[in-house]
Symmetry: C2
Subunit: 151 residues, 2 copies
């Protein structure tokens, strides 16, 4: 009576490993968006980080890590090249432990410059996967974060 759906049997095969399939898709997608953004000098991950800081505004490092669902120490290191390029800056507040991450005018400028390149890549992915399929995949990825994420 179990497994009346043949797909459910397949799911216990390593070929259907969520991790392996995500990792593989992530590799090709990162290369694709990185290539699209190459004229701007930004990596896709950096573009995402800058866009989030621009949209959400100044916030503490740990809060930003929560928003990105990224380890705090990973974020610390990902910030370095962006600070070095003066796209992001670090501010202080009364609580001397806190580092406030904010985007500079130069940071906003490069996000604006990169946006058309990002949109072109995004449009190509939508066209390739199909406009009707894409929203469902994004929803699935977000659900996965909610389900599996330790938050």
């Amino acid at each position: 009576m179990t497994n009346s759906n043949p797909d459910l049997d397949e799911l216990t095969d390593v070929g259907f490993c969520a991790h392996a399939n995500l990792r593989r898709a992530m590799r090709v997608t990162s290369q694709f968006y990185d290539a699209a953004l190459k004229p701007t000098g930004l990596r896709a991950t950096q573009f995402t980080l800058l866009a989030v800081v621009e949209r959400r505004g100044e916030m503490p490092l740990s809060k930003l890590a929560d928003v990105l669902v990224m380890d705090r120490t990973t974020l610390t290191r990902n910030l370095q090249p962006l600070i070095k390029n003066r796209w992001l800056s670090i501010g202080r507040e009364a609580d001397e432990r806190v580092k406030l991450v904010s985007i500079s005018p130069a940071g906003k400028a490069i996000v604006a410059e990169a946006m058309p390149f990002w949109r072109q890549a995004q449009d190509q992915v939508i066209a390739g996967l199909g406009g009707e399929r894409m929203p469902g995949m994004i929803k699935d990825l977000r659900a996965l974060v909610d389900v599996v994420g330790g938050s």
Copy 2:
């Protein structure tokens, strides 16, 4: 007449970036599978690599990189800890350029040991996402690789 589907408008927002959503889902999922496999000492990526070599048998490094949809140089480095632990070994053939990657008895043993831990993690993901949703997401991820992958 364009964009009769409201979802299609959303897709051009950076919040629906395929790269950012994949990367975020990959982060939480890697942590989840890594934690599940921790008793075995294997990382999820290493488990995947070993399982593929076991299933597909001995093959040249570049061929393995194609199968994994992974850059050749990434694979070279990912192999190192597995070779050091004697789970994988490198063989030679007539063409002296070729390195043949094969799994050792110890490699097969640790894959077998890790399999129940992997399955537990996989089952939890299936349960969390829903058995009816999971196959579709895997199909989407594979389609993304086909569409976006430079192969």
